[in-house]
């Protein structure tokens, strides 16, 4: 297997993630407490206030998907009575437990001291942690974040989330950690979050340039890594995003595109896409290469907004810490209603001057997938640009059919090409 060529920021991030895994797997020796929680509505700053390590089962499932372990784990869980119909993140996680719960660094994960059930934008989260709770019998803190059914949060929703933070989550974390909550500490951390968020947004918005110096989907999953996981609010994350910004700026100044896994640089960008939906992880490089081979670059994506919609203006705010956390949780992409998602994606197609919207529909993830065909149709109608629809899964290798995906992608790109030629002729 060839080694993927990475940008310097990717290597930096790799070190950071490895460091976090080492901290988690050595928690017994260091005496630190470990929580499990989710990417959307991730309360990393709050966990930091209590010195609790942040372990994210979704990220573990992704790691296992990219390392081609998830297929076996999923089958292990299905043998244990889990339906083939349900989310493969959950099954990959449960299957991993059945196989010794080994972290990517080869050491076993410690049992979590607390399950922080930050319940934002995905129904399955609730069942996932009920299932883990049955296994670990550890304290489980539910933070119910209401869905923005009418396209916006209401004062009642914000009050509800803030009240849960004050009366359930913070006391619960104090009890687990033995650390008293210090709101000034939270303010300091949130200020660092906001700083990194500024740089992230700057980077993501460079997708508006031609050529785009970033790939906002395949490359984008690297760019969002630290801020969506255990690093938001840390100095490390601030440094990472400073470095990332410099790296992207250098490419922008040089008129260069992003680096591809094979080491080449995608500067000759024939197609600009907005992508809706998470990527497939088991064939991530192959999937990316299918786009790159056609000269397609993703200029904006919704997946890079699951852990917060910073590009729409939200920043963590040290002046009003708890309300700010509540607003953060409420505003994550999958907690927004479908009309809002249509608005966002149609706006991306316009603002990023894309050729169209491509939907990668994920079998596991109904929160994303249910309604995507309507989203596509609406975005097509509003922008007048054709959409495309492909289907894969997160970490179930049985559900990635390269020939099928490639066939549709090619058809789509050729259609764009043909339409352009038709338009040129007419002009």
């Amino acid at each position: 297997m060839t080694v993927a060529v990475k940008e310097p920021s990717m290597l930096l991030q790799k070190e950071m993630i490895a460091g976090n895994y080492d901290a988690i797997t050595s928690a017994h020796e260091t005496g630190r407490k470990v929580s499990s929680t989710f990417v959307p509505g991730n309360l990393n700053e709050l966990l930091m206030c209590f010195g609790i390590l942040n372990n994210l089962p979704e990220i573990n499932a992704i790691q296992n998907g990219m390392r081609r372990l998830s297929g076996d784990y999923i089958m292990e869980a299905e043998k244990g009575g889990h339906s083939e119909d349900v989310c493969t993140y959950v099954k990959a996680d449960i299957g991993m437990m059945g196989r010794g719960n080994i972290a990517p660094n080869g050491k076993p994960f410690p049992e979590p001291d607390v399950l922080l059930l930050s319940y934002t934008g995905c129904y399955t989260f609730m069942k996932w942690f009920e299932l883990l709770r049955a296994e670990y019998k550890c304290p489980t803190l539910m933070l119910h974040v209401p869905y923005e059914g009418d396209g916006h949060s209401t004062p009642n929703m914000i009050d509800y989330v803030v009240k849960q933070l004050k009366e359930v989550i913070i006391p619960g974390l104090e009890e687990v950690s033995g650390v008293k909550f210090d709101i000034d500490r939270l303010r300091e951390i949130l200020a660092l979050s906001a700083k990194a968020e500024d740089d992230l947004v700057w980077c993501l918005e460079t997708g508006k340039h031609k050529p785009s110096p970033i790939d906002a989907y395949f490359g984008g999953v690297y760019y969002i890594g630290p801020i969506f996981t255990a690093f938001r609010g840390t100095e490390e994350a601030v440094d990472y995003y400073t470095a990332l910004r410099q790296e992207v700026k250098a490419r922008l100044d040089a008129g260069q595109g992003p680096t591809l896994p094979d080491g080449s640089v995608l500067t000759d960008q024939k197609y600009r896409l907005v992508v809706e939906g998470p990527p497939n992880w088991t064939s991530f490089r192959e999937f990316w290469q299918m786009f790159a081979d056609e000269g397609a670059v993703v200029v904006a994506s919704s997946y890079t907004k699951v852990g917060g919609m910073y590009d729409l203006g939200f920043r963590h705010d040290p002046a009003d810490p708890l309300r700010s956390l509540a607003e953060y949780c409420l505003g994550c992409y999958t907690n927004r209603n479908l009309p809002s998602r249509v608005d966002i994606l149609a706006q991306y197609v316009e603002d990023y001057e894309a050729d169209g919207l491509l939907v990668n529909s994920i079998k596991s993830c109904n929160s994303f997938s249910a309604g995507q065909l309507m989203i596509m149709r609406e975005v097509e109608r509003r922008t007048g640009k054709p959409g495309a629809f492909i289907e894969t899964d997160l970490v179930d290798p049985r559900y990635f059919s390269p020939a099928n995906v490639k066939n549709r992608l090619e058809s789509y790109f050729q259609m764009i090409d043909q339409k352009r030629r038709g338009a040129n002729k007419a002009a």
Binding site: N407, Q414, G422
Partner: protein, 432 residues
């Protein structure tokens, strides 16, 4: 003549269309897609070029007023003789290959006997070929394997018995040889085969003048100006990337070429179902295919035919005999068999169940059309399922119900839609 060729490499058959530089269809060819895609593409192309020659003959002959009304017969005679000569050439190749394959150690002791048997068999096959290709004889298949195979078995069994040789040994040799012969291109050029055919047919009795014209026509070179490949197997074609077009684009353009008023295309093939919208120039504006689940594709009917021990082509006619329609809920191919048996067990009639199954397939197709933006006038239906009367009947009813009065086009040769689009792309690539 400059030839622009489209090749559609499908999952079951491979089609080719030859066009001239004015987008006129000159010839079409079809063969079964075998494991070897290169050969399938080469054979389909060859067949289309043969058909092109016949078209050229037709054009030349139509200049003779004296031949008015006889051209069809003359061409039929030429083609019959061509097929006969081609068959003999392939027999020759097969015989040589069989003889070479007697060199195996297994046959060491009986090699001479085996060679004798093979010679006897092929002599017999050559003798019989006259009847096989006699005027007015309907051959059960156009594939060499089918034509030669039956005769070989018959003759070899008798010859082995006479020679006291194990039939299995000869059968082994045959199996090995036929695969090799099928998977290589013909040894003789098409032109030389045609020349032999023309001699054999005595230029179809048109006199020396006609014979000369046919020979002159044969001398017109068929230049392959541009080839475009499409279809599910297109990535396997040995073509540079710019010569490959997706089947969506080719289907859209092909449907436009057949029916220039086409705005919506439905194609139900073996593996997938496509809904395509095209603009007035045949340019694809939008498309949707069935999702990962292949429910409701042509393969579903194949599966049902197997379950009922019927031929695929018998399903439609039987469904048309239905007096009522049994509601079928599952278009899932995996569950279809169980549902079918369940309905039969409940005492439902086969034709009524089949009528329900056809409706179920078309309902799926209508959903895909709906996903692709609905149906606009005119609507063109292509693919293998377009030949099925029961499916067409349901489609007409559902289109009317959901989209009102829409012109529905079905071309009996719609199997060539993709290749036709490919050939048109080939013309456009050079001339535009």
């Amino acid at each position: 003549m400059r030839c622009f060729i489209g090749i559609d490499l499908g999952s079951t058959t491979t089609k080719a269309v030859v066009m001239d530089d004015t987008c006129r269809v000159m010839g079409r060819g079809i063969t079964n897609s075998r494991s070897n895609y290169d050969t399938a593409a080469a054979v389909a192309k060859q067949e289309a070029l043969i058909d092109t020659r016949l078209t050229l003959f037709r054009n030349s002959l139509s200049a003779f007023p004296t031949l008015a009304g006889k051209v069809d017969d003359i061409l039929a005679d030429i083609e019959r003789n061509f097929r006969h000569v081609q068959y003999l050439e392939k027999l020759e190749d097969l015989e040589q290959t069989c003889l070479e394959n007697t060199g195996t150690p297994r046959l060491a002791d009986v090699r001479a006997v085996a060679r004798g048997v093979i010679a006897t068999v092929f002599t017999r096959l050559r003798e019989d070929s006259g009847d096989l290709f006699a005027p007015g004889v309907a051959r059960k298949s156009d594939f060499f394997r089918d034509l030669a195979g039956g005769g070989f078995m018959h003759a070899a069994e008798a010859a082995c018995k006479d020679a006291g040789l194990s039939f299995d040994l000869i059968l082994n040799v045959y199996d090995k040889s036929i695969i090799a012969v099928e998977n290589r291109e013909p040894t003789a050029t098409m032109e030389s085969t045609f020349l032999r055919a023309l001699e054999k047919s005595g230029a179809a009795g048109g006199g020396p003048e006609v014979a000369q014209v046919l020979k002159d026509t044969l001398a017109v070179p068929l230049e392959e100006s541009y080839v475009v490949g499409t279809g599910y197997g297109r990535v396997r074609l040995p073509f540079p990337k710019e010569h490959i077009r997706s089947e969506i684009l080719c289907h859209g353009l092909g449907a436009h070429m057949m029916f220039p008023g086409t705005r919506t295309v439905l194609d139900i093939g073996g593996q997938d179902t496509k809904g395509i919208q095209v603009d007035p120039n045949g340019i694809v504006e939008n498309f949707q295919m069935n999702d990962r689940c292949a429910a409701g594709c042509g393969r579903y009917l194949g599966y049902i035919a197997d379950e009922m021990s019927m031929g695929l082509h018998e399903l439609g006619p039987m469904a048309l005999k239905a007096t009522k329609q049994v509601r079928i809920n599952s278009t899932c191919t995996v569950f279809a068999g169980a549902e079918l048996r369940n309905r039969l067990a409940l005492g439902e009639k086969r034709e009524d169940i089949l009528a329900g199954l056809h409706r179920a397939i078309i309902l799926r197709a209508i959903s895909i059309l709906s996903r692709a933006g609905g149906v606009q006038d005119e609507f063109t239906f292509t693919g293998g399922v377009a030949k099925n009367g029961a499916a067409v009947k349901e489609l007409r009813a559902l289109i009317k119900e959901n989209y009102g009065d829409v012109t529905i086009n079905i071309d009996p040769d719609s199997i060539y839609t993709g290749a036709l689009g490919g050939a048109t792309f080939a013309v456009r690539a050079v001339t535009q």
